[in-house]
Homo-oligomer: 418 residues x 2
């Protein structure tokens, strides 16, 4: 029988009524002829309650005990979902991670999948069970301890099961009805996409469209698992939501698929840095160790500056505003030890990042030019530019962010289908 | 190293502060040189919340899913207790039922122990762990499903571990500080017992002194596990609480140890029942099937009554008041099918049961006479009498119950030590 994976997040199973609502969607797929693996999160709020208790008990907690405690929320939802399905005459049972068993590494709190053996579930499907309800976000280590997968773990569980069981598709039910060309709060012209490629989704996810965890998209891309994002609060059918898939499945020719943004960015410039081989490593090594997520990096052309006998340069980079203090401290520490030398650190905390993303860029020239002229027409000054194969990002003044997103959405005709 | 089992019920682990308080008691025993197996219940209220969700989801629930859901409360407490102990520098880890593994039958919701293999815990104790924190009330079936043990399951878990690991003692921490000669709410003369035998405890437990579950006392008696009942809210030491033990360990010579009572009893009399072999089975079989807990039974002397050509008798029995309607229905159904014949059913719903319990009765004559005369002096009429080797129970008018308990407590000098 063809098989689907369906994943329901915390808000989709927040109470018994929502669990029933989710179960009805499962029943509909069973009626269409699918065997279904359902992945559930904890009822919303439950995991936070458990995490709060652990933190209050033991600020530097034993991660094995943390995992034993916080995994219990998913176990409750799994049992309740199985019972709800049984009430609807759908043959179902719940599975905790160790029962499958979902084998993971022993990296408690951030475990990775080692294997998901099919035998136990396959045997139950062969007996006539139509639905296996799996507690998401958890697994079991080789030592027999309960592990958890870290943030977004339930999405990753869903993709991993879809890969292991060769599912036709992995449907991620959430509180939005799909992936949009940009944030609808910024422009009402934002349009839901029917399809988007894995690569595009990765760029959009890491840029702030927080619908799917990056890790689950990466896993889906690697195993070519077709992901669908759709709303658990709407009536849904085979055409609902957005399909995240291999680019071969995307027929429409589109240069740009979406406009992403990140509001709280800072631009830091190290002025008059000694320019020598290894200087980038000497700067960005300490920043990485300090946990600063450096994003865009620009190095000016090296020149012989006045009063310097060796070549010097300016090094500019961006990071989230909240990490500026940490970055400053790390750089000053590196200067104090003599690891780097610079004359000054200029910090601009009023920046935002806007990006256009699209696999069509690979074969279409002129995307950057179109982007820059659209911004210029609105009088938006560009502070930093960074490009990848399918993305162009610019750092601009924060006050122009909404304007820039709207202008780019219009410039690339994203409100039009196709 | 000598080993103790310590069990903490729901009110003793109701919040993080109480868990800390319980952990301090564990640490004190570790400091005295014991390895400790701690059995924990769910934080009070948690199990009821989970049971409520299951009942609302599926009134005729799949007991396997019920068990998977409700067992999660104990898992949370076990992890939090282990973390709390670690914070106190006591090497501890939590164990869920399947990790031990606590092997049980597949009777979900009322499972019984099959085996508790020692290997996994012994290995950890050998590594230097001093405390194993076990989620009470649960186990795992041969099919790999989570089971629960039913009411009082955590007490039973504690006794089973004490038996399996040859514990020196099994301490049951609860919200009372021991077993009393009678209910202190009825007479302020009630006195805490230092020791009581298993047999006496069984009679007291089933009669309403709801401190220990009958099943756990039975198990303790079978495996000669010394049980101690004590308060988790008091300062405690080696002499605290009440020790429930084999009667060989009880030095004091005491005829009566306690006075128990049961307030809501009903007396039912089947009038003019045909007296023939098998009539008792014909009456009490249907009552048992209807779930009526018949307690005392008295059959009057058989006689040839007027208008009857065969011997007839009156059959009197007691049961909880709340089961009277069920009993009446079962008896009338049996009469309708012709299985039994009787002229009438008299029901007295205003009864209470008072019992004196003591292993000394075996060797002391005159206990019944002393009991009856004490009641007669207070003008209390006795409706039904039933006796066992170590117990005499009487059914009386409910309004005299407190008076009877006080009179018997005085008559047997229970307020005096020794």
């Amino acid at each position: 029988m063809p098989l689907l994976v369906m994943k329901f997040g915390g808000t989709s199973v927040a109470d018994l009524e929502r669990i029933r609502n989710a179960a009805q969607k499962v029943r509909a797929e069973v009626a269409r002829g699918y065997d279904v693996i359902v992945i559930v999160s904890a009822m919303s709020g439950k995991t936070n309650e458990l995490v709060g208790w652990v933190n209050e008990t033991s600020p530097l907690y034993d991660a094995r005990e943390y995992d034993a405690v916080v995994s219990s929320g998913e176990n409750v939802t799994a049992g309740l979902m199985a019972l709800t399905l049984q009430e609807m005459d759908v043959p179902a049972r719940s599975w905790q991670g160790w029962q499958v068993p979902i084998q993971t590494t022993s990296a408690h709190g951030a475990a990775r999948f080692v294997d998901i053996p099919r035998a136990n579930l396959d045997a139950k499907f062969a007996e006539g069970f139509r639905v296996a309800v799996i507690a998401g976000f958890q697994g079991v280590s080789a030592e027999g301890r309960i592990t958890t997968l870290g943030r977004g773990g339930s999405d990753t569980t869903a993709v991993a099961f879809a890969a292991a069981f060769g599912a036709e598709r992995c449907d991620i039910y959430t509180d939005v009805d799909g992936i949009y060309t940009t944030d609808p709060r910024i422009t009402s012209k934002a349009r839901k996409l029917d399809r988007i490629s894995f690569e595009e989704m990765l760029e959009l996810a890491s840029l702030g469209a927080k619908v799917l965890q990056t890790r689950s998209v990466e896993l889906a891309m690697r195993y070519k698992v077709r992901l669908r994002v759709l709303s658990s609060f709407d009536e849904t059918d085979e055409m609902s939501g957005t399909l995240v898939c291999d680019e071969d499945e995307i027929m429409e020719s589109r240069v740009v698929s979406g406009v992403a943004y990140s509001r709280e960015e800072a631009k830091l410039t190290l002025v008059t840095v000694e320019d020598r081989p290894g200087i980038a490593a000497a700067i960005f090594g300490p920043l990485a160790e300090a946990g600063v997520n450096v994003d865009m990096i620009v190095q000016n052309i090296s020149e012989k500056a006045q009063g310097h006998d060796r070549p010097v340069t300016d090094m500019t980079f961006s990071c989230p505003v909240e990490q500026v203090a940490r970055a400053r401290k790390a750089l000053e520490a590196a200067r104090d030890t003599g690891a780097i030398r610079y004359d000054g650190l200029e910090v601009d905390e009023d920046a935002a990042k806007v990006s256009v993303v699209g696999i069509g860029m690979r074969s279409h020239a002129g995307v950057a030019a179109r982007m820059f002229s659209a911004l210029a027409e609105e009088g938006v000054n560009i502070k930093v530019i960074a490009t990848s194969e399918i993305k162009i990002s610019v750092l601009i003044d924060r006050k122009y962010m909404e304007l820039a997103v709207q202008a780019l959405h219009d410039a690339f005709d994203l409100d039009k289908t196709g």
